[in-house]
Symmetry: C2
């Protein structure tokens, strides 16, 4: 008996009929329970929030994403243009904000954006400003950094430069980001991607300790080995010492968002994100 097939079929039929998929996942009314505060995510003394990097939900619509964030009590979302095109006008943004409010979700950040021209920088900051986001997670070309600094100062929106590991010459490690930004406005910081960092052979907790003053966002994930060809795995199944990372975030009073980013294949993204979240909460609740 394979009732999963029935589910699949029902979803498909619902889609054909132009209905939203969300009611199949759960009653839309469930969202009304949204704004309730998290009960046991981590200690009262913790300064950081749990959130989600937009890439984790790349295969889900805005409505589905909000349904799951509400379900998971993840109240901080860094949105990508896949969920909201950069060109979106005020009405589209207002409609999205209303949905987010109902789900108890704040769009705290925008990105990851690759910023390869001044106009891309300008568009990204305008986008973040329209959204009310306080931080852009981005990968700016180094020659644009003086221009980026002016945009940060004009908007008071921070930029966290995302390190992308051994696959990219630009910004592989947190240190490589730091070397580019150390003399710039302190609102230009680092989005510490712990998976890409570990793949460079650097323990993310060491990087967090070394560059704490500049780390303004974290992408939390795990990888199966500390090498360029390390593959993404759910949190706790790989080589990253998540316990040490949690201790370090607490010791340093890290006050940004710790955003779950699951890179696995499409059909695994929901269980992979859920397992990672569960593991993180298990660790957070243990210390």
């Amino acid at each position: 008996m394979n009732t999963q097939l029935k589910y699949t079929r029902r979803s498909f039929v619902a889609t054909l009929a132009g209905m939203a998929v969300v009611p199949v996942l759960g009653r839309a009314a469930d969202l009304s329970a949204a704004a309730s505060p998290e009960t046991r995510p981590h200690k009262e003394a913790d300064k950081f929030s749990l959130g989600i990097a937009g890439y984790s939900m790349r295969d889900f619509s805005v409505d589905e994403t909000l349904w799951w964030l509400n379900r998971w009590q993840l109240h901080r979302w860094a949105i990508k243009d896949a969920h909201l095109p950069v060109s979106s006008g005020p009405e589209v943004i207002a409609a999205l904000q209303a949905k987010c409010k109902a789900a108890g979700v704040t769009i705290y950040g925008a990105g990851v954006f690759y910023l390869k021209s001044e106009s891309e920088v300008t568009n990204a900051f305008a986008y973040a400003q329209r959204l009310g986001a306080t931080i852009i997670i981005g990968v700016p070309n180094p020659e644009l950094l003086p221009f980026v600094e002016k945009a940060v100062q004009a908007s008071n929106i921070r930029l966290a430069i995302h390190n992308h590991g051994p696959d990219m010459d630009l910004y592989p490690t947190p240190k490589s980001v730091y070397d580019h930004i150390k003399n710039l406005d302190p609102r230009i910081g680092i989005c510490l991607d712990i998976g890409h960092t570990q793949r460079c052979g650097v323990d993310p907790s060491d990087a967090l300790g070394e560059f704490a003053s500049r780390i303004s966002d974290i992408h939390i994930k795990d990888v199966d080995k500390a090498a360029k060809d390390g593959k993404t795995v759910p949190l706790g199944r790989g080589v990253i010492d998540i316990h040490r990372l949690v201790r370090t975030m607490r010791q340093l009073k890290y006050a940004g968002v710790c955003g779950l980013e699951y890179e696995g294949a499409r059909a695994e993204s929901l269980p992979g994100t859920a397992e990672s979240l569960g593991y993180l909460r298990g660790v957070l609740s243990s210390a």
Copy 2:
């Protein structure tokens, strides 16, 4: 952009074409990595195993279930008749066993079975015997217990009676099971369902301590309140003290299976099970 819909559609089309759904979830070849031992599930000193109660996977085919158990490194499966009808002949069972072996999964148990007549008892024990399962998780009518005891003695297959909480007069709590079995063969024991136990206002760790000698299986889950109308939630989000349960299992050297049982709605079962597993592993790896 809603690529989830594309996934749903692809699954459906694949099903229509008579193809297995598994290749959409992942390459079947992934299963060949199956038999690798768990790396960091819990401490070396732990006597118990992690597994899955069949009900969690009720909406998935056998192939899908094995794909996920392999993925999750859950090597112990208590199977229900939904995945393998009680009437299955030797060839069907042999084919299933081959798939399980490839996935690194052992069918350690059968059930939950409601046993309301001698023939149902006989059939359940014959089923478990054909499968090589060493335990039946069941709910026998009390008047059948002498007959069940003979079946246990004849087969050397244990029976764990599942407590079902305040919804049922029969066996609501572990104590109510114990009172029925305390003078029977010690191979007749208790499947401690921690959710149903907590809904009766009994802390499952207290029950585990009190009836340890008879607890031969555990269904691990969480509920949002310790009351009859408590609803199932992923592990760590409810009122059950999972940390204390883990400490108690370790102190008592519990040596059975700790089987994840997620009761949530169909579309949530995979993320709900995954989140629960992640939380449990986070707790297990913390102490």
